[in-house]
Structures are given as C-alpha cells and as structure tokens.
Amino acid sequence: MRDSDIVDLYWARDERAVAETEAKYGRYCLAIAGNILADREDARECVNDTWMGAWNAMPDARPNILSAFLGKITRHLALDRWRAKYAAKRGGGETPLVLDELMDCAPAAGGPEEELAMRELTGAVNDFVRALPAVEMGVFLRRYWYMESVKDIAQRLGFSRSKVKSILARTRKKLRAHLEKEGFI
C-alpha cells in the first residue's frame, strides 16, 4: 500500500491503518528501536507504542515522508525508555557509545531558556546536516539518527570500519566548529 493511502486510513480513523503501517514499517522501526535499546522485547514494545503515537498524531499531522515520521516517533520513545531503564548503568545498544562520541560537541545542558535554545539548536543542527557532502551526511545520520553501529554502517556502505570512524570524527569536529560559531558552545 502506498504511504499516502496509509495516511488516508489514519485520517479516516480506520484501524486498518495500524496493520498496514506495521506490515510496511514494522521491521524498519524495530531496527531503530533495536539500535537504541539492544533488547528485543523493549524494542518491540516501543514499536507497538509507535503505532499508538502515530494514531494519536494523525489526523492533525499529515506527514510527507511516513518512514521518517514513524522513525522519529520510535526513536523518541526508545530514547525515553533508554533513559528510564538503562541510563544509570550505561547499558543498552549503541546509545552510550553515541553519547560518548557526541560529548565533545554537545552544548551545555539546562538553563531557564532551555526550550528556546533547543529550538535554535535544532535549527543549527539542521543547517549543519543539510550542508554536509552526501557521503558524510549518510554516515552521520546513520550513526546519530538511526543509531546504527559502526560495523553496520561500514557493511552497508562498503567502507572499512576505520573509514567510517574517520568520517564520523571529521564530521563531529565540523559540528563542534559550527556550534561554536553559532554560540552554542
């Protein structure tokens, strides 16, 4: 079924929307949740919650790209679950590794203007990603959006692991410079 037909089902409050979404994007969302949590049961629960999230978000939202819309919900739910369950002991999937990698280019947390700063930060991140060369963008988003392991990225793109690590290090360095220039660091 085409994505636009699935979205139409959500807008019509037709429960087949969930079954069709699961059939088409179940594995995709499971992979994202699995990368973050590394626990199949937790990941499955996140994916089930994703369908509920999509059901609640539409009809207000009409996503142009359904996969990214669903992936974003899954990612958000999985990170929430990771915080609640694993953060203290630093376990679970790629998340602690990714956080360690990002620590060097992360802006300071907290502050009364956090919500406004967050909106500005997302804009700065968006500008940064949009300006990246294609290969760097692909590797960067696979790591920090989809939270894929370096090994999986290397295999998927036909690079050595050292090349992937090197691209990521170079891109993080650029990100830090960009965020410094924009006044976030």
């Binding site: 594995r27 974003k72 992360a106 991140v125 990603v129 050292s162």
Partner: protein
C-alpha cells in the same frame, strides 16, 4: 537531560527528507548517478552498434560506472582498460525457496573477486530493508574451503526497481596462500540463506561455478628490503583530533589491481591494521584511496589487505602514500 542527550534530541528534528536519504540516499544518490551514467553508456552503445530498439550494458560498463561512483573520481584509461579485460558477464540464476539469486557479472584479478548478484524475492514479496545473502562459502579448484583467515570480504547492498543487489568482494587466494587461486580454474561460490532484517526468509543453497579470467596482471612487490616508516595513531580528546606517529617497518608491500597486501612490524600492537592508512597515487596525480579490509596478526606483526576503491594498473602507479609523508615508489 545530559548535554550529549540534548544534542541527540536535536537530531530528531533533522529534515525528514535528509533522514530518508540517509537510509536509501547514499545508494539512491549513487544509483541516480549510476542510472544516469548507465543510460548515457547504454545510449552510446546503441549509437555505436547502430541498434534501434535498446542498448545492452555489459558487465565491464557496469563495473566502470560502479567503481567510478565509489571512488568519486573519473577512471583513467588504464583503469578502464583493466576492467574491460577482467569483467565478465555471468548470468547464472539459482532459485531456492522462491527466492532467485542471479550472479550477473564478476570481475577478478588473480587474488580478489567482485561479484554482482541480484536477489529477486518471490512474487508479491517486497523486502523493505536489510535483505542479505548469508553464509558465503568459497571453494578452491580442488574443492577445499578457503579458510576464514585467508578471506577478507566487503559487501555492499542496494535496492533498485524492486530487487536487491549485492556487490560482494573477497580475497580468493589458494588454501596455501602462496599461489594465485584464480588461474583459469573454476571457483565455487555458495550462499546458504537469505535474511531480511536479520530473520531467515529462505534457505539455499544457491551455488554458482564461476570460470573467470584472472586479469593477466601479476602482483608487483615494491620492496627489496625492509622499509622503516611511521604508523599513525588518532585520539579524540577535548573535541580535538590528535595525531601521533610510531615506528613501523614494512617487510613486504605488494600491489595488485584490486588490493594491496602489506606485511609489517609495528612497535604499537593495538594499532595494527587500522594504524597504517594507505593510498595509491597514480602518475597523473589521481589518488586512489584504500580501506583496511582485514588481515592476520601476530605479536607486533601484521599481514594486512587494503581494498582499493577502484582498480589500478601497476604501470600507472607513481607511488604508495604512507602516513607522516612517507612514500614508497613503484620500481622502474
């Protein structure tokens, strides 16, 4: 929320089109480029042959496009000539469990092989992501399985027009490791299963017998005595990349059209393999990057393979670039 988590949260709002591109984009962009190039090549072929209905894209043309896209550099005449001499159209199909695997084309030097396979699902099945061929087994001409330590492989998957494609490459030296495996002798390649997102959807075997030309190019040894140089170590601290160098002695540096093989001694054991990034510089100034693709390691010793991002002809090489400005020239 920790600072790193804040940044991770911000990534969630990246433009959905970019996010989608990251999943399919590297392949899609390449495919777009490849399709455009394939169309151009096919059109040129049609004109050349005076055909009226359609053009036929040979395995050589496909590999030229693929390597050019991969290396993001136009190929030299020598590189194109090598591919034309070595690439063959295979066209063998095997169906098991409703899934058809077709070896469409292959390219080999005397030690390494690239195989382009197409994976067609049963009617009505459309795998969305992560469709993979598993359990590749290579038998040499005497039926002996090439041991893992002598295999270095890299696999690239992409999806196009409903089918999945797998470009699989592997070192195929003989069991002894001393002699060229591919020397006009058939190679047996077997895949055991197909998985979609990690779950097995069909059991094989899909078995192919490939009789390939070896490309006619021998490996060239660049060293006649040990060559002292430097390995590179990278550390990331305080947001800065710091490079440092340590002593390495190359014992052998062998150039092949598809891969470099380097045997060396290093003072720093933990950096073996990754710590010796190499590139090949051609006489016209073209730089062909390599990726470390595996090897065997002993105490402070390494025997490593580096896959070239595009084939090279030894006579076109000026030198091999090593870390810290060291170079090894091609022998006259």
């Amino acid at each position: 929320m920790m600072a790193g988590e804040k940044l991770l949260e911000a990534f969630a709002y990246v433009d959905p089109e970019l996010v989608q591109d990251a999943r399919t984009g590297a392949e899609r962009r390449n495919n777009t480029g490849r399709r455009a190039l394939m169309i151009a090549l096919a059109a040129a072929l049609v004109l050349a042959l005076g055909a009226t209905a359609y053009g036929y894209l040979s395995g050589a043309d496909w590999f030229k496009t693929w390597f050019s896209n991969r290396d993001r550099e136009p190929l030299t005449q020598g590189q194109e000539a090598y591919i034309e001499g070595a690439a063959v159209d295979v066209g063998q199909s095997v169906t098991a469990g409703g899934w058809t695997v077709t070896v469409e084309t292959a390219l080999a030097d005397q030690y390494d092989i690239y195989v382009k396979t197409r994976i067609d699902p049963p009617a009505g099945v459309t795998p969305e992501d992560n469709c993979k061929l598993e359990g590749a087994v290579v038998l040499d001409a005497d039926g002996q399985k090439i041991p893992f330590s002598q295999r270095t492989e890299s696999i690239t998957y992409y999806q196009e027009a409903g089918a999945w494609y797998c470009v699989w490459s592997q070192s195929v030296e003989s069991v002894s490791g001393e002699t060229a495996y591919l020397d006009g002798r058939p190679l047996t390649l077997t895949f055991d299963s197909i998985t979609v997102d990690g779950e097995t959807v069909a059991e094989g075997p899909w078995r192919f017998t490939l009789d390939l030309p070896a490309g006619g190019t021998q490996a060239v040894e660049l060293l006649d005595e040990p060559f002292p140089c430097k390995g590179r170590s990278i550390s990331y601290e305080d947001g800065e990349i710091t490079e440092s160098y340590y002593d390495v002695t190359l014992l052998s540096l062998e150039v092949r059209p598809l891969r470099l093989r380097v045997q060396y001694r290093s003072e720093k054991e933990q950096e073996l393999g990754d710590g010796l990034p190499l590139s090949v510089v051609l006489k016209d100034g073209t730089v062909v990057p390599t990726g470390f693709s595996g090897g065997s390691f002993g105490s402070h010793m390494a025997d490593c393979r580096y896959q070239l991002e595009a084939p090279v002809l030894p006579e076109e090489i000026a030198y091999i670039q090593l870390p810290a400005g060291y170079t090894v020239p091609m022998p006259e």
